[in-house]
């Protein structure tokens, strides 16, 4: 990439200084201060999606010579373009992380075209060759961790009824629901996963109502994909149900009810990105990874998780960590309307971009995408 030269040069100098400093046991600053901008759609301490990114940003703040600027609660509209402009023009940001799904197209693409020398990294987007070269998208296969949560949930549930409180039926959410359901079914063929869509990323009253409705239906293990899982975790625990967390570790909120959870590991990835730039390699435009690449992780098991469940979950984890990996979405997959969505014989591995266009719920999920 010839774009991003200015920032890369700055980072190169800094990186060299950092390496030298580290060798000498010192922690000197980057030669030229580099500013990195983070943009969040919600509050950065929401016990969820935004907090996970903020933890990653906090890991960058510890690196001398890096300045991190952050803005929260930026809607997925023109507002994000204004935020990006002001971070570039007022704060001098050269590397930007607009972290919410809806920022990507058209907003971030437009900004990346306008500022070809700066680097834009989007979480969750689907970068393609048509997009600007100074833009990139990264994401974690958190469905691997959801699959493991599903195994633990399927073996913990007494009613074999699991619940999923979801925000919107977009591919990433559907993929999590499906992975959770498939994980549960892999160990408990009777297990069903009932999904309720609340309609938006942060709707605490709806999330609480959804949690209560699911438990009224006999669901005894719940998980979610909303921005702040706190509401679901607390309300489910109060009703005596078990929970699997999402985004970050919520075990502190419900120590007895918390089984495990699917967590992001941005605090490992973001410093890696900075190192890539400093080393002159640049960040690949399309960056993906799962448990093996340490982009996602699984929360430590709670006390309610049986030995059997721990064993099954650990086995699955070992498969994901193995060299050949493990495909959650295998050939012959049928959706909950009876249609074959993946033809027999073609396993869709984690990196298959088809999976990022998912628009179905698999057999065993009760719910509909529209």
């Amino acid at each position: 990439m010839d774009s991003g030269r200015i920032s890369r040069r700055h980072l190169l100098q800094g990186g060299a200084a950092l390496t030298l400093g580290a060798a000498a046991g010192l922690r000197p600053a980057f030669a030229a201060e580099t500013t990195i901008g983070f943009i969040y759609v919600g509050s950065r301490d929401d016990y969820g999606y935004n907090q996970a990114h903020a933890q990653g940003a906090a890991a960058l703040k510890k690196i001398p010579g890096l300045k991190v600027v952050e803005e929260e609660k930026v809607p997925e509209t023109d507002a994000v373009e204004k935020t990006i402009e002001s971070m570039i023009n007022l704060d001098g940001a050269t590397l930007l992380f607009p972290t919410s799904f809806g920022y990507y197209n058209p907003h971030m693409i437009k900004m990346a075209t306008k500022y070809p020398k700066l680097r834009f990294e989007h979480c969750g987007g689907l970068w393609s060759d048509k997009d600007p070269k100074n833009a990139g998208s990264y994401f974690g296969y958190i469905d691997e961790a959801q699959y493991i949560s599903g195994i633990v949930a399927g073996l913990t549930s007494k009613s074999s009824k699991l619940g999923f409180v979801a925000a919107k039926p977009i591919p990433q959410v559907l993929r999590n629901i499906n992975a959770f359901a498939l994980g549960a079914k892999s160990v408990n063929p009777k297990a069903t996963t009932q999904v309720i869509f609340t309609g938006d990323w942060s709707m605490p009253v709806k999330e609480a109502e959804a949690t209560n409705s699911l438990i009224d239906q006999g669901v005894d293990v719940l998980t979610c994909h909303v921005d702040g899982p706190k509401t679901m975790v607390e309300n489910a625990a109060r009703r005596g149900a078990f929970v699997c967390g999402y985004h970050t570790n919520q075990s502190a909120l419900a120590p007895k009810a918390y089984l495990t959870g699917a967590e992001w590991n941005w605090e490992a990835l973001y410093p890696k990105f900075v190192k890539m730039i400093a080393a002159g390699e640049g960040i690949p435009n399309f960056y993906r990874g799962g448990l093996k690449e340490e982009i996602v992780k699984v929360s430590p098991y709670g006390e309610a998780v049986s030995t059997e469940a721990r064993k099954a979950a650990d086995e699955a984890k070992a498969k994901f960590l193995s060299a050949e990996g493990y495909a959650i979405f295998k050939g012959g997959l049928v959706d909950n309307k009876g249609k074959t969505v993946i033809p027999a014989g073609t396993d869709r591995g984690q990196k298959d971009p088809e999976l990022e266009k998912m628009d179905y719920l698999v057999e065993g999920v009760i719910g509909a995408t529209s």
Partner: protein
């Protein structure tokens, strides 16, 4: 049933449970706004008051360990915001609707700013009274775990209804709302009456907020209100400035809010966006049915800036 499921019964039960769980903030804000509007002023800032109330209740409950002190703090915060609204509106040629919008933004902004460190900690919650002890079904028991604030709200509605009709201060509030000239001729300060009415309204709205953060959903975060304060202000018009109708309207809105998730949970999955919008569709429908081009809204205080 053997598997602990109650099938389709979930829907009416969830609507009932939702009516009880979700309605309380609507009820307190609408009763508060009812008092304020009866005195001839509109306080649109109650959305901000609700959010400030929720934040301060959570903060005080967390710091002191007593949720009831949190409720009190929420009420006082609300009353102060009410006093601010009334104070600004006392100045000549100030539009109360504009001030209300400003205070709505101020209240939510201030609450988000001060509430930052409160999102992560868990504060002690208000207790619930178990009215479902007679039932073996955990679903029924859960739906009937009722908070005292809801009961206070339910009792408050008929008391207000009675007070507006038969007590001296009820008459004073109504006089200030119907004809400020008459109130002045009786030797009362209209501004003072409105100040008190707005403060009481703010007090109640603040308590409504404390219910959100301390009982249901039961924690502080920035999406907590999702517009419930502003809906409750609209609800007062919908309820024709009658506290008893405010009670029924709040219950209907609470139940409607539970409808979307409940229908999805029993497998009615198509069009959930429509069911999620049920409260708003309900408002629009009733507004259209009851409006008339020939007369002003029945029950509207004559001094309100929207009817004058």
């Amino acid at each position: 049933m053997a598997d602990g499921s109650i099938g389709l019964w979930t829907v009416p039960l969830a609507v009932l449970g939702g009516a009880i769980r979700v309605s309380t903030p609507f009820l307190f804000v609408s009763l508060g706004e009812c008092i304020t509007e009866r005195a001839g002023r509109i306080n649109l800032g109650l959305e901000g008051t609700l959010v400030m109330g929720a934040m301060s209740a959570y903060g005080i409950s967390y710091l002191t360990g007593s949720p009831w002190l949190g409720v009190l703090a929420a009420g006082i915060t609300g009353a102060l915001l009410g006093a601010l609204h009334a104070g600004i509106c006392s100045l000549p040629r100030v539009n109360d609707v504009a001030v209300g919008i400003a205070l709505m933004l101020f209240g939510t902004g201030l609450a988000f700013y001060l509430g930052k460190p409160l999102i992560e900690p868990t504060a002690p919650r208000l207790p619930a009274i178990d009215f479902g002890w007679w039932s073996d079904l955990p679903q029924v028991r859960a739906a009937l775990r009722i908070n005292v604030l809801f009961l206070i709200g339910v009792v408050l509605a008929p008391i207000l209804y009675w007070a507006f009709r038969t007590t001296r201060w009820g008459l004073l509030i109504r006089t200030a709302g119907e004809s400020s000239d008459a109130a002045r001729a009786m030797g009362h300060s209209v501004l003072l009456i409105r100040l008190r009415a707005t403060m009481v309204g703010g007090f109640l709205a603040g308590i409504g907020g404390s219910f959100l953060s301390l009982f249901y959903p039961g924690s502080w975060n920035e999406g907590l209100s999702s517009g419930q304060g502003i809906t409750a202000v609209a609800l007062v018009i919908f309820a024709r400035w009658d506290p008893l109708l405010c009670l029924w309207a709040s219950l209907a809105f609470g139940g409607a809010a539970a409808l979307g998730p409940a229908l999805q949970s029993v497998g009615v999955t198509s069009g959930y966006h429509l069911f999620n919008a049920a409260p708003y569709i309900l408002t629009l429908a009733i507004m259209i049915i009851t409006c008339s081009p020939k007369r002003t809204l029945t029950g509207a205080p004559a001094e309100l800036s929207i009817t004058r």
